[in-house]
């Protein structure tokens, strides 16, 4: 099956009309992956045997005509637990870890008849913006194999962009769905914090982490989000908010919508050509009847350091569980129990993870807590307040998803601070919990540019509405990546 030509709605119709079976769909997905993944390295693990069994069961039971996900293959980022299928978070620490339960999102997809085909490569423990920190080798950008796919959900974005799969799950703590979506010319949404249960998602920063969806078409992500959303008794941060059918309710009418564009998103630190692409994207919205006004979010310029202190602090606590005792990597050649902890962690984690856990440990340590952690948590409040104020008057905040297009592999990996600046435009939505998406808006020198669409908390539908309106105006999904480069 050629995923460049078919949306989930179209695949659903083929399945319902018995023009194709779920088994055939799964088999052709593996053919896609076998044909292209040597070039992009998007997958860490494939579970063909199990997926074919699941497909056969769906075929025997018959496609659920009322459920778009029935019989649809999907791929899962490797920090989301899958029963019996290795889940590594792209770390040596979990190289051989085989979960004994499914994440709620995986359980929900399977209940709806979707078929998970494999686990996607990423930055180690979702810490990174280039998918270069993976223990299993870096991922390549299908538009130019010499370039990074972004991160941390780089495998998810690259696999969708390369046409290996129709939709993939990612996670987004500071932009890890939207930044790779922008770099790979696909749609990616981080829904509202609390919209989706995080049960079974390997924790990085619990006040920021959210599961997201990447797909070529807007409605495809809407279908997946409808399936995986909802309150969960296993995750107290999941919100008791009704889940609409995001596909049925989608309404691309932009007449009278008010769009705010922060001047901080269109100035210093953002590539000039990107600003031009975004300006013409915003003109499309004006043509559709929306109004576009420049506003200011002054505290957004502090978002990157604020994020790194908060996310690293939470990570330093969350990742203490990796001690080499109950699961995960255990170092050999140890003298005592303390040695097990220290050597297992030192040998099991990569440099970027260590750097962040150290930063977090420091920010939470006695004497520094007020100066770093508390200060950052206060600035987070200021960012939340200024965003909330904008949404009192406007329906959307829009701007670029990233300050540059995809950079060359190896270019920034040795300079953490420059790498961190990649997330400057995506972090604010994580700070406030707002739903936010990146949608392809054009190209610069053969590399895709993403438009970011942010709405008020729990207005995930609004994000889909604006994204669909833009997709219908631009039809970016018709473009196919070149899959060329040195690598």
């Amino acid at each position: 099956m050629n995923y460049f030509d078919h949306s989930i709605e179209e695949l659903h119709e083929l399945l319902v009309n018995k023009e194709i079976t779920a088994t055939q769909l799964v088999e052709s997905t593996y053919e896609n992956i076998e044909a292209t993944d040597k070039k992009i390295n998007a997958f860490i693990t494939l579970n063909k045997e199990e997926a074919l069994k699941r497909a056969q069961a769906v075929d025997e039971k018959g496609i659920d005509t009322d459920n778009l996900m029935s019989g649809i293959p999907i791929a899962i980022k490797d920090n989301i637990l899958t029963t019996g299928i290795k889940t590594t978070a792209a770390s040596k620490m979990l190289e051989n870890f085989v979960p004994v339960y499914d994440a709620t999102v995986v359980e929900k997809l399977h209940q709806d008849g979707a078929i998970s085909v494999g686990k996607l490569n990423m930055d180690e423990f979702a810490m990174g913006s280039s998918s270069e920190t993976s223990y299993f080798g870096n991922v390549h950008n299908p538009w130019n194999l010499d370039r990074v796919p972004g991160g941390s959900s780089g495998g998810s974005a690259a696999s969708v962009a390369a046409g290996e799969i129709v939709a993939a799950l990612g996670t987004d703590t500071g932009g890890s769905v939207r930044q790779p979506a922008a770099f790979n010319g696909v749609f990616g949404i981080k829904p509202t914090y609390g919209r989706i249960s995080r049960w079974g998602v390997i924790a990085f920063s619990s006040s920021l982490d959210q599961v997201g969806v990447l797909s070529k078409r807007v409605k495809d992500a809407a279908a997946v989000l409808t399936s995986i959303s909802g309150e969960d008794s296993k995750d107290d941060t999941s919100a008791a908010v009704e889940v609409p059918d995001f596909v049925k309710n989608i309404n691309p009418d932009m007449k009278g919508k008010k769009i705010a564009v922060p001047k901080e998103f269109m100035g210093e630190g953002v590539n000039d050509q990107i600003i031009e692409v975004i300006k013409s994207a915003l003109q499309e919205f004006e043509k559709m009847g929306a109004t576009v006004e420049t506003i200011s979010l002054p505290h957004v310029k502090n978002a990157v350091p604020t994020y790194f202190i908060l996310a690293s602090s939470e990570a330093s606590s969350n990742l203490q569980r990796f001690d080499g005792i109950r699961y995960g990597f255990r170092a050999q050649d140890v003298k005592n129990l303390e040695d097990v902890y220290v050597k297992s962690r030192s040998e099991g984690f990569g440099d970027e993870v260590k750097r962040r856990l150290m930063l977090g440990t420091f920010a939470l340590s006695s004497g520094y807590y007020d100066v770093y952690f508390k200060k950052a948590a206060q600035i987070r409040t200021l960012i939340i307040q200024e965003m909330a104020k904008v949404f009192e008057e406007y329906d959307y905040i829009m701007g670029p998803s990233t300050p540059t297009t995809a950079f060359k592999i190896g270019d920034k990996i040795d300079d953490p601070v420059t790498m961190y600046m990649n997330d400057m435009l995506t972090i604010p939505a994580n700070m406030s919990g707002a739903p936010a998406a990146s949608i392809p808006a054009g190209m610069i020198d053969g590399m895709p540019v993403g438009l970011q669409i942010i709405a008020n908390n729990f207005d995930d539908q609004g994000v889909f509405d604006a994204a669909l309106a833009f997709e219908q105006a631009t039809k970016f999904y018709e473009k196919q990546p070149a899959m060329k480069g040195e690598n």
Binding site: G328, L337, R345, S365, I384
Partner: protein, 99 residues
Amino acid sequence: MIDKEQIRHIATLAKFEFSDEEFDGFATKFQETLDMGDKLQDIDTTGVEPTTNLATRTTVFREDTPETDQTREQLLSNVPESDGRLIKVPSILDTEGDN
């Protein structure tokens, strides 16, 4: 600005060890990351409440009904070293490699 001794101390708290050659490169980059955080110190946050979570609910109750979850075998299936039904760990005291 913190010195290398302090960075060594943080490594101990975070349960990491570095060889001498690894440490220098690591410390420099760590220092740069931290400098970024120092930029926040000039921002006036007097009277601003910190935000440490975004949860929309506080305490959630459910019926206390028994449920079947993982078996002991499943729960022990990822243990690096076990002895029957027990998780095996080295002694707390130094054993000079004689485990």
